[in-house]
Symmetry: C2
Subunit: 201 residues, 2 copies
């Protein structure tokens, strides 16, 4: 055991983060050792405040500041109540908001269905979504789960649940990414882009 | 501003780490939000204890537990006092120790000379190395700085300083990495492997 315990502890704690292996963890630890004290201290303070300072919106389950019952979007009366965009994670809300192209509301599932990982409907905010729709006033639901196996499975499960309720269901378009190169597009994306081809206007 | 402040603060603090961009920082932040409380809390505690719990060995400047004046290697009488291996960082000590092939002592410079970044001999533990050699008893110094421009420059600066002191200077061999593929070796490595070719024994 050549490393002093405080260093080994930090390496262990950093290694528990996703995408951080033991090598990256030691590199970060030794960086912090040389860096000004406030780099490590600010990070420690931010970590401690993370959960105590945040909560979930009781309507859409997006993340919001502690003490609020609704997030900024749900509290904003100018956002269209007739549209709900269903996403997997709060980061997806952020990505869609950055486009500036959506004026409706959101619903954050906090994950996707995954029989392999044992994530069923009861682990996600699906019941709460159905209740929101049942409460009325919703005309269109955009199923914006990830274009992955789990995301697609979640979307088709939601379709089964929501279709009988008479709400208009849509999903995000699949196709070539803007700025992408046809030559480098994978086979599935190209197939989707072909079958979903649009009229030149 | 859609993200609550505690989340934004953690993203900012993580983004200051080397190799962590804003995207990785948000991914880690949202991971920590979902993870059990102790993941973030253990990390915060380890960060706070990092500097208070460690210090530098007053002989070789390797990192060691607070309250000690010498690291485990310097305190170990079975380590050969006649050999000093000069490295840039404490992590290099660890890498060499893992090989199990070195029984001498170390000297950690805490960086390499870099005129571009304004790092001169006075910013490294070079004066302390010269004092150790001057104190006597050292027969061989292995210059194990990185095989980079700064590392090579540091090694040749040290050679200038140490050669007049009559100590035997060596450096780590350059050549093909074990398990590597000749075909993929870069030109410089291959050139070094060729010029440094060894007799078949």
């Amino acid at each position: 055991m050549l490393l002093p315990e405080p260093i080994q502890n930090l390496i262990t704690a950093l290694s528990r983060l996703p995408g951080v292996g033991p090598k990256t963890a030691s590199r970060l630890t030794f960086y912090l050792l040389h860096a000004p004290d406030e780099v490590a201290n600010d990070l420690a303070a931010a970590l401690v405040n993370l959960k105590s300072g945040t909560t979930y919106c009781q309507t859409c389950f997006n993340i919001t500041a502690a003490g609020r019952t609704e997030c900024e979007i749900c509290a904003n009366d100018s956002r269209d109540r007739r549209m709900i965009c269903v996403v997997e994670e709060p980061l997806d809300v952020l990505a869609l908001e950055r486009t500036g192209g959506y004026t409706g509301r959101y619903h954050v599932l906090h994950g996707a269905l995954s029989p392999i990982e044992g994530i069923g409907p009861e682990n996600l905010r699906i019941r709460e979504l159905i209740e929101r729709v049942r409460a009325g006033g919703v005309e269109e639901i955009i199923l914006a789960t990830n274009p992955s196996m789990e995301g697609d499975y979640t979307a088709s499960y939601l379709r089964q649940q929501l279709q009988p309720m008479g709400v208009h269901l849509t999903r995000l378009a699949r196709g070539l990414p803007v700025g992408g190169d046809l030559e480098y597009a994978d086979q599935n994306t190209l197939l989707r882009a072909l079958s979903g081809r649009q009229e030149m206007s």
